[in-house]
């Protein structure tokens, strides 16, 4: 019998503006997310993680893999360039359509997936972004959470994607650690039984994260 998986997609901005401390903090944050999830028995049995990064283009840095076997990839970013958030969402939809299993007569489906988008800017590919934000909304994600990191991150485009927007004022190690700890508790609560229409209840964010309304 295959275990029902909880797919978790991390969609991370690696555009040029992330160079330096932000990207370093992000790497440490992702690593600490993996480590803390590994201390959660439920997550260790059911969470599958995929990392999508985007800058001039979007790519699947780590295909969906179980937390047990997951190895944190090298996350790097170019010197400069565009922020192709729309392309990243397009890739997210493709991955989800391909990877997330549905209930069938003979197999139990996966839990509805979670997606976290972290960006420190605004989409360069606006038209694609708008179209793809709608595509994401049409898909049965248990929750899509967007995090606007730093002062340059724009909230308006993120509102098209989800109601769950959080603001990270600074992009230092401390803030990212708080963010990913919270992501970890959100993933843990995603394992609970959910209603057909209900969206998951997010745990309260840490003080470094501001809820955007």
């Amino acid at each position: 019998m295959s275990v029902r998986r909880l797919p978790v997609y991390l969609v991370l901005d690696t555009s040029g503006s992330m160079r330096g401390e932000p990207i370093q903090s992000l790497k440490v944050g992702v690593q600490s997310l993996i480590s803390s999830l590994r201390q959660d028995p439920h997550a260790l049995e059911s969470v599958y993680i995929s990392i999508i990064t985007f800058d001039n283009e979007a790519r699947v840095l780590s295909p969906l893999e179980s937390l047990e076997t997951f190895q944190t990839p090298l996350i790097d970013c170019p010197q400069s360039g565009a922020t192709m958030t729309g392309a990243a969402l397009e890739l997210l939809c493709q991955c989800m359509d391909r990877e997330v299993r549905k209930n069938t007569e003979t197999d139990k489906g996966d839990w509805r997936p979670l997606a976290f988008l972290m960006t420190d800017g605004s989409p360069s590919d606006t038209a694609l972004y708008n179209a793809m934000a709608e595509e994401v909304r049409r898909r049965p994600f248990a929750s899509v959470i967007a995090c606007a990191a730093g002062i340059k991150a724009k909230h308006e485009p993120l509102k098209k994607l989800t109601e769950n927007i959080f603001n990270l004022e600074t992009m230092d190690g401390h803030s990212f650690a708080g963010l990913f700890q919270w992501v970890s508790s959100t993933v843990s609560s995603g394992n609970r039984s959910m209603g057909a229409s209900a969206s998951i209840t997010l745990p309260p964010p840490p003080p470094e994260i501001q809820v955007v309304i």
């Binding site: 028995p41 039984s193 209603g195």
Partner: protein
């Protein structure tokens, strides 16, 4: 790094330039400044081929990096990128990819061009630069030494643990990530696999490469076989560790040290905590409940236990059950309810649903008109308006609706003090109702279910009839609840899809359970419809239903990914010996 050794006399000005640049960069970084004019300096230097590097000018063009923490690594990367760009721009042959062979420029030594070529796509590591500088020094002892008062540049740190490390041709130290393991699960890396992985990175011949030694912690349960290069064993504890191994690229080569990381996950079963629930929260409920009854023609064994996922967080058990018997007419009433994990008062929703439905069904059925089923027709349709007797399925539907309204009443006028006003959504619960009666024609069973979980009718040796159809969605955990008005809105549709009945001359057991049991025991809808799966479950249950404490203990079985609350009610014939 034989590929980086200079082949012909390089211009001394090159090493001078790089040296000066490195010293200036290191000094600037200490001042909190960065990479101001690398681009211009590289351009000037390449264009003039003189000792044109002006440290003062370079420093003056530095920018503050207080808000931008670029490391010296970034500056070296920038230096390499600029050098590549300016050199390749001067050629019409190839703009996209740098080729050392295209630039037989006198003033640029081939090793430097090769270094640029190797770093064309790979990330440039400072160590590649430091190796290059070392190589220059070896060849040209006349090259000026660093002034004694200059601090050692950050760019060329003394190698940390091992004097020699396995590097890629571009000079990046290789670190191998061994596959993750899990405590208690057999672990194996096939013979030669690690050596092949390193050889592939170094452009060495994989057939000749091997690992001479892999240093594993003594008590970790894993062993390295130096003869074959395999790793095997059963991890005994969690690890997150950097290991060292000795790599030999060919039988004649000396061993080189290489880092390897190994991660051993903890055994998930060891991580579960059993936290107490909050004693001040409204709607208290014990984590465990078990009861057994002897009611008329039936013996009932019931148990309900908090799932590990709830115990791990100190959450309440959300499941509940209620059993009743209409003594004058012989109807047995069983209700099983599963509160939604996502609803904060669902433990109360499941309690109200099961108790309200049970109480109302028992009082309604405890009346002479329900003393007999009569012919099967009367089950389906009482027909005569004079007959107050209503069809069983109508009763069950009404019991579910009554449960809905009673929960709504509680949500709107809670009997307990809640921290904030509530809504019925916070009480979401499923509900499975089972009625049984012994008749002249045999044992009659009828069910009505909203949500997941399920019930089935078993007769040994091989017969099994599922009595419910689970409400599921496309994904795991999606279901519907008796608390959602739309679930019960359409009566006709409900009577068709949620009601089920059967009558058999005899029975072995009738089981009603929540999804904490059905998910692990019936992995798919096809399995739920398969009598073999029901009898496999019954084989496990038979020794456990001798008393409710044993049943409760059995329900503690471990199944990866299935840690929800579990509730099971087994209805058995009264004649069944208690120790069957």
């Amino acid at each position: 790094m034989s590929n980086l050794l200079p082949e012909k006399s390089p211009s001394p000005s090159l090493s001078d330039f790089i040296r000066s640049l490195v010293i200036e960069l290191a000094a600037m970084h200490r001042e909190g400044k960065a990479h101001g004019a690398i681009k211009d300096e590289v351009k000037t230097w390449l264009a003039t081929d003189s000792a044109a590097f002006d440290p003062l000018k370079f420093r003056a063009a530095a920018i503050s990096n207080t808000s931008y923490d670029a490391g010296i690594t970034e500056d070296v990367a920038a230096f390499m990128a600029c050098a590549r760009f300016w050199i390749s721009r001067s050629s019409s042959q190839d703009h996209s990819l740098f080729r050392a062979s295209h630039y037989p420029h006198e003033k640029l030594p081939l090793p430097f061009l090769k270094l640029l070529e190797k770093t064309e796509e790979a990330y440039c590591h400072p160590r590649a630069m430091s190796d290059f500088l070392e190589a220059l020094n070896e060849e040209h002892s006349e090259a000026p030494e660093l002034p004694a008062d200059q601090p050692v540049p950050e760019l060329a740190p003394p190698p940390a643990e091992t004097p020699q490390q396995v590097r890629t041709p571009a000079g990046i130290p290789i670190s191998i990530a061994l596959p993750n393991g899990t405590v208690g699960k057999p672990y194996e890396i096939e013979p030669g696999k690690i050596a092949r992985a390193i050889a592939a990175q170094c452009n060495d011949n994989p057939a000749r490469a091997r690992i001479a030694h892999l240093q594993l912690p003594d008590d970790c349960g894993l062993y390295f076989d130096a003869a074959t290069g395999a790793v095997s064993g059963v991890p005994s504890r969690n690890l997150e560790q950097q290991l060292h191994l000795d790599y030999i690229s060919s039988p004649s080569a000396a061993s080189i040290s290489c880092k390897a990381s190994l991660f051993i996950n903890p055994d998930p079963t060891s991580l579960w905590k059993d936290l107490p629930t909050n004693p001040d929260a409204p709607y208290q409920k014990e984590p465990l409940d078990h009861k057994e009854y002897s009611l008329g023609h039936f013996r009932v064994v019931a148990a309900s236990r908090r799932g590990r996922s709830h115990a791990n967080r100190g959450d309440f058990r959300d499941d509940d059950f209620a059993i009743g018997h209409a003594d004058s007419t012989g109807w047995l009433v069983v209700a099983v309810a599963d509160g939604a994990g996502s609803a904060k008062y669902s433990r109360q929703g499941s309690r109200i649903a099961s108790q309200v439905a049970r109480d109302w069904l028992v009082s309604t059925l405890d009346s002479p008109e329900y003393a007999s089923l009569g012919n099967s027709q009367s089950l389906e349709n009482p027909a005569q308006p004079s007959n107050p007797k209503r069809a069983i399925r109508d009763l069950l539907y009404d019991a579910a609706r009554l449960a809905h309204y009673k929960i709504k009443e509680e949500a709107e006028n809670p009997r307990e003090t809640l921290p904030e006003p509530s809504v019925i959504r916070n009480y979401d619960t499923t509900l499975i109702l089972l009625l049984m009666k012994k008749t002249e024609a045999g044992y009659f069973a009828a069910t009505f279910s909203v949500g997941d979980g399920g019930a089935g009718f078993l007769l040994e040796p091989k017969t099994a009839t599922p009595l419910t159809h689970a409400d599921g969605g496309e994904h795991a955990g999606q279901t519907t609840f008796v608390t959602i008005a739309s679930s019960l809105a359409d009566k006709e549709e409900n009577l068709v899809s949620r009601y089920s009945q059967t009558i058999e001359p005899d029975f072995t057991a009738v089981l009603a359970m929540t999804d904490g049991i059905t998910d692990p025991k019936f992995p798919s809808d096809a399995a739920f419809a398969d009598p073999k799966c029901w009898h496999a479950l019954w084989d496990e249950l038979k020794p456990a239903v001798k008393d409710s404490a044993a049943l409760l203990e059995w329900m503690n079985f471990f199944s990866p990914g299935n840690h929800d609350d579990r509730t099971l009610v087994a209805v058995l014939p009264a004649s069944a010996p208690a120790n069957a």
